[in-house]
C-alpha cells in the first residue's frame, strides 16, 4: 500500500477518471433518450395501435404474398405485413414460406428506396417508420433479413 501522503494524488486521479466515466454515461443516457424507438412485432403493434399513433417504430413482420406493388420508376414499394404464425417463426425464420391464411394487418409504403434484393413474398422484414391513423406505416426503411450464413436447416427451401 502506498503511504498516506500519496493519497491526495490518487484521489485527484480518481476524480478525473470519475468525471470521464460520468461524461460517457451522460452521453449514453441522453443519446438513448433521443434515439430510442419501439421494436415490436406486428401483433404487438396491433394490440396497442391507438397508443402508438404517429410514433417512430420498428416493426417486425412477414411480407404477405400477393400484396406487393413495386414501381421501379418512382421507387415506391407498397406491401402488406402480417404476424408470422408463432410456431413457424422460430422454426423456419427467414426462409420464404407461403402464408395462405394470414391477412395483411398493416399496409406499408416505402418511397424513394430501391427494393431490397432479399425482399420477397413470405420473407420476414423489419419496417422502420411512422404508423398512421389508418394503419399505414410510412416506412423510412425496409430491412430484409439477409438469409444468414447461420440459418438452420432449410429442407427443400430452394426450388
Amino acid at each position: 500500500m502506498p503511504g498516506k501522503a500519496a493519497m491526495p494524488k490518487k484521489l485527484r486521479f480518481a476524480i478525473g477518471a470519475g468525471l470521464m466515466v460520468a461524461a460517457i454515461a451522460y452521453l449514453i443516457v441522453t443519446a438513448v433518450r433521443n434515439t430510442a424507438e419501439y421494436y415490436m412485432t406486428v401483433g404487438e403493434v396491433k394490440a396497442q395501435q391507438a397508443a402508438l399513433d404517429g410514433q417512430m417504430l420498428r416493426v417486425a413482420g412477414r411480407v404477405v404474398p400477393g400484396t406487393i406493388a413495386w414501381n421501379p420508376a418512382t421507387l415506391t414499394l407498397a406491401f402488406g405485413i402480417a404476424q408470422p404464425p408463432a410456431q413457424d417463426a422460430a422454426a423456419s425464420g427467414l426462409r420464404p414460406v407461403a402464408i395462405t391464411t394470414a391477412a395483411a394487418v398493416f399496409h406499408v409504403i416505402c418511397r424513394g428506396q430501391p427494393k431490397p434484393d432479399m425482399f420477397a413474398p413470405g420473407r420476414d422484414v423489419i419496417v422502420e417508420g411512422r404508423l398512421d391513423r389508418d394503419g399505414t406505416i410510412e416506412a423510412r426503411q425496409v430491412l430484409t433479413s439477409c438469409p444468414s450464413k447461420y440459418a438452420p436447416k432449410q429442407p427443400g427451401a430452394a426450388q
Binding site: 500500500m1 502506498p2 500519496a6 494524488k9 490518487k10 485527484r12 486521479f13 478525473g16 477518471a17 470521464m20 466515466v21 460517457i24 452521453l27 449514453i28 441522453t30 443519446a31 438513448v32 433521443n34 434515439t35 430510442a36 424507438e37 419501439y38 421494436y39 415490436m40 420498428r58 417486425a60 413495386w70 414501381n71 421501379p72 420508376a73 418512382t74 421507387l75 422460430a90 425464420g93 427467414l94 424513394g112 430501391p114 427494393k115 434484393d117 432479399m118 420476414d124 423489419i126 422502420e128 430491412l143 430484409t144 433479413s145 439477409c146 438469409p147 444468414s148 450464413k149 447461420y150 440459418a151 438452420p152 436447416k153 432449410q154 427451401a157 430452394a158 426450388q159
Partner: protein
C-alpha cells in the same frame, strides 16, 4: 471423406483433453516428460483438425451432396472459388475454421514456449485447449460438419448470393484470425494468474500475438465495411448492426490493451487493468460469436435462432466468471508500487485514452444489448439505431484523436508547462490554421471543423516526432536524411510503427467524418440516351445489356460519365439474378478518386416503359477511409516486425524472471 473428417474431430477432442491433463499435472509436479507429451498431443490435435478441414474442403470441391453441409451451401454450378469459401459460408464450417485457427495458434504457442515460460506456458496451453474443447465439443456433438443426408441431394442449395463475392474470401478469415489469436494473450494472462507469475512476462511473451490479433481485427473490420460498401448498395459502409458491433468491440478493447500494456512495461502500473482488458477482449470475441448465432438480438444479418446460443452463453459466462475469480484471488499480489504523478504525463494520457476506448466499447455494447435490456427491465423492446451510436461516439472520437496527438509526445511521469508549450506549439498552430482555413473555405459544421483541426494537430505531432528522430540521427550518426529515416524506423519499429498507425487513423477518421457529413444522394429515372447531373459529373445512360451463364443472369446498365464535357469513365452497375436460389443481387459501380466516390446503383428497371432508375451517391473523401486502413495495416506490420534488440531484451527479462521469483522489471528506456 466424411468418415475421415468425423474421426479426426473425435480424435482431436480426445487429444486436446489429454493435453490439458498432461499440462496441468506436468506443471504442478514439474515433470518435463509429461509437459513434452502434452506438447506433442497439441501438435497431434492440430494435425487432426487440419485433416478435418481438408476432408470438408475435398467434399466441397467434389460437390459431395450426400453431405448436408455441402448440399446446404454449395451447388454444382457454383464456381470453384466459392466452393472453397463455402468452407466458412455456413455455421458448422465457420466453427471448424475457428477451431482450426485455434489449433494452429495453440501449436505455434506450444512451439514458441517449449523452453520459455516454464511456469506460465503449461497453464496457458491448457487454457487454450479448454477453449478448443468447447468448440470441438460443438463440432462433435451439436453442430456436426460431416452429417450425412438421408438421401443424396440431386444438387445443392447454393451459397447465399451476398456471399458470392470476393470479399467473402478474405473478410471472414481475417476477422476469425483476429478473434482467435486474441485467445493467446488471454490464455497467457490466465496462465500467469494461475501460476502466480504476475510480473509482465506474460505481456512481453504475447505482445506480438496481441498486435497480430489487432492487425487482423483491423483488417477484418475494414474488409467488412468495404464489403458492405460494395455489395449492399446503400452507399454507406457501416450501419451499427449488432454483427458489425460484435466485430468492433474486441477491436476497441484490444486497442486499449495495446496502449495500456506499455504503461505496465514502463511503469509497472495498471496490472489489474491489463489483466481485465485482455479478459474483456477475449470475452467479447465469444460474445460476438454468441450474438451472431443466438438470435437474441435481431440483426439484419441473421434473424434466426440457430440453437447454439445457450451453449455459447453458458461457456461465455463460465469463462468470465472463472477468470474474474482468478483475478480477485490474485488481487493482493497485484498491487503496484508506482502511481500516477501528474495529469500532464504520458501515463495519464494513456489512462484517459483507455477510458475513452473502453467507454466507446461499453456504449456500443449497451446500444447493441439495449433491446434485450429494455425488454427485461420494462417489458418493451426498445431499439437504438445508428443515431445513438453516432451521437455517443462522435464526441468521444474527438477526445481520442486529441489524445493520439498529445499522448505520444508528452514526457513520462510529469511534464512542465514550458516543455509542453515547446513540444506542441507548432502542431497546435498547424491544427488551428487548418481549422481557420476550413472555416474561411465555407465549412460551418463545428464537428467537421474540430475534426479537421485535431486531425491536422495529430499530423503535426507525427511530423515533429519524425523530424526530431531523423535530426538526431543525422547529427549523431552522420547519415543522409533518407538513411536516417529508414534506420530510425527500423531501430525503433514499435514506436514509429505506432506513429504510422496513428497517421492511418487520422486519414480514416477524416474519411469517416467527411463521408458522413457530405454525402449527397440523387435518384433519377431515365430512358436510354438521357443525361442527368450529379455534382460536377454528367451521366448518360446508354442502355442495358443482359448476359446469362448457367449460374447467374446479369442485367448491366452502361453509363458514360463526363466532367466538363469530357468523357472520363464508363460505369456498369448491374442487377444479378442467381438462378439456383431465385435471388436478385445488386452489383454497384464505383468510381473512386481521392476527392470523392461516385457510386451508382441500378435501382429499378421497368420492362414495359424501358425506364431505368438509378440511385447515385457522391461521397467525398471516403477514399481516405480505405487508404487510412491500409496505412494502419502497414504501420502494424512495421510494429510487429521482429526486432533483434527487443528479442534480446525479452530473452534477458525472461532469464531474469527465471532467476528471481518475483521481479520488479527495471525500467528500460527505449533508445
Amino acid at each position: 471423406m466424411p468418415l475421415i473428417g468425423q474421426l479426426a474431430l473425435a480424435l482431436a477432442l480426445i487429444l486436446a483433453a489429454y493435453s490439458i491433463i498432461a499440462n496441468v499435472i506436468g506443471a504442478r509436479r514439474s515433470i518435463p516428460t509429461l509437459l513434452a507429451s502434452a506438447r506433442h498431443a497439441i501438435w497431434a490435435y492440430c494435425a487432426m483438425v487440419t485433416v478435418a478441414v481438408a476432408a470438408l474442403l475435398v467434399s466441397l470441391l467434389r460437390s459431395d451432396f450426400s453431405l448436408e453441409y455441402v448440399a446446404s451451401y454449395t451447388s454444382s454450378s457454383l464456381p470453384t472459388f466459392y466452393k472453397i469459401t463455402a468452407l466458412w459460408g455456413g455455421q458448422q464450417g465457420s466453427l471448424l475454421l475457428w477451431t482450426w485457427l485455434l489449433s494452429l495458434f495453440t501449436a505455434v504457442a506450444a512451439f514458441q514456449n517449449r523452453r520459455r515460460n516454464p511456469e506460465i506456458a503449461p497453464y496457458a496451453l491448457a487454457t487454450l485447449a479448454v477453449v478448443a474443447i468447447f468448440f470441438l465439443g460443438m463440432l462433435n456433438f451439436v453442430t456436426r460438419p460431416f452429417d450425412m443426408l438421408a438421401a443424396v441431394a440431386p444438387d445443392g442449395q447454393d451459397l447465399n448470393p451476398l456471399l458470392q463475392n470476393y470479399w467473402m474470401a478474405i473478410h471472414p478469415p481475417s476477422l476469425y484470425t483476429g478473434y482467435v489469436s486474441a485467445s493467446v494473450p488471454f490464455a497467457f494472462a490466465t496462465g500467469a494468474l494461475i501460476a502466480g507469475r504476475l510480473d509482465d512476462s506474460w505481456i512481453r511473451s504475447t505482445r506480438r500475438w496481441a498486435i497480430f490479433s489487432w492487425f487482423f481485427l483491423t483488417l477484418g473490420n475494414l474488409f467488412g465495411a468495404r464489403w458492405a460498401y460494395e455489395v449492399l448498395g446503400w452507399g454507406g459502409y457501416w450501419a451499427w448492426d449488432p454483427v458489425e458491433n460484435a466485430a468492433f468491440m474486441p477491436w476497441l478493447v484490444m486497442t486499449a490493451y495495446l496502449h495500456s500494456v506499455m504503461i505496465q512495461e514502463r511503469k509497472d502500473m495498471l496490472k489489474v487493468w491489463n489483466l481485465a482488458l485482455i479478459g474483456m477482449a477475449f470475452g467479447l470475441t465469444l460474445f460476438g460469436t454468441f450474438i451472431t448465432r443466438s438470435g437474441v438480438i435481431s440483426s439484419v444479418h441473421s434473424f434466426t435462432q440457430s440453437g447454439l446460443g445457450p451453449y455459447f452463453l453458458t461457456f461465455l459466462i463460465a469463462v468470465v466468471a472463472l477468470y474474474a475469480a482468478l483475478l480477485i484471488w490474485r488481487l493482493p499480489k497485484l498491487r503496484s508500487p508506482a502511481e500516477f504523478e501528474s495529469y500532464l504525463s504520458r501515463e495519464a494520457a494513456f489512462l484517459f485514452n483507455n477510458l475513452i476506448l473502453v467507454g466507446i466499447a461499453f456504449a456500443v455494447f449497451w446500444g447493441t444489448l439495449f433491446p434485450v435490456l429494455s425488454e427485461a427491465v420494462r417489458g418493451v423492446k426498445i431499439t437504438v439505431g445508428p443515431p445513438f451510436f453516432d451521437k455517443v461516439n462522435a464526441p468521444l472520437a474527438l477526445g481520442l484523436i486529441f489524445l493520439m496527438g498529445f499522448g505520444p509526445l508528452i514526457a513520462w511521469r510529469r511534464s512542465s508547462l514550458d516543455s509542453l508549450a515547446k513540444t506542441f506549439a507548432s502542431p497546435a498552430l498547424f491544427g488551428l490554421v487548418t481549422g481557420v482555413c476550413a472555416f474561411v473555405a465555407g465549412l460551418r459544421e463545428w464537428y467537421v471543423l474540430a475534426a479537421l483541426s485535431l486531425g491536422a494537430f495529430v499530423l503535426g505531432t507525427i511530423v515533429v516526432e519524425f523530424r526530431r528522430g531523423v535530426g538526431a540521427r543525422r547529427h549523431l550518426v552522420r547519415e543522409s536524411a533518407p538513411a536516417a529515416l529508414i534506420n530510425l524506423v527500423a531501430k525503433n519499429n514499435r514506436r514509429y510503427g505506432g506513429y504510422i498507425i496513428h497517421l492511418g487513423v487520422v486519414m480514416a477518421f477524416i474519411g469517416i467524418v467527411a463521408s458522413s457529413f457530405f454525402r449527397t444522394e440523387i435518384k433519377k429515372s431515365v430512358h436510354e440516351g438521357e443525361f442527368f447531373q450529379v455534382g460536377p459529373y454528367s451521366l448518360q445512360y446508354l442502355g442495358l445489356e443482359t448476359t446469362e451463364t448457367p449460374h447467374v443472369e446479369t442485367s448491366r446498365a452502361r453509363i458514360e460519365v463526363r466532367r466538363d464535357g469530357k468523357p472520363i469513365a464508363m460505369m456498369l452497375p448491374a442487377k444479378l439474378f442467381f438462378k439456383r436460389n431465385q435471388q436478385p443481387a445488386t452489383a454497384v459501380a464505383i468510381r473512386s478518386t481521392p476527392a470523392a466516390d461516385l457510386y451508382v446503383v441500378l435501382a429499378g428497371m421497368d420492362d414495359q416503359t424501358g425506364l431505368v432508375t438509378f440511385q447515385v451517391f457522391l461521397t467525398p473523401l471516403v477514399f481516405w477511409l480505405w487508404a487510412g486502413g491500409l496505412v494502419m495495416a502497414f504501420g502494424t506490420v512495421i510494429a510487429m516486425w521482429p526486432n533483434v534488440r527487443e528479442r534480446a531484451a525479452i530473452a534477458a527479462s525472461l532469464r531474469a524472471a527465471a532467476e528471481t521469483p518475483v521481479v520488479d522489471e527495471p525500467l528500460r528506456r527505449r533508445a
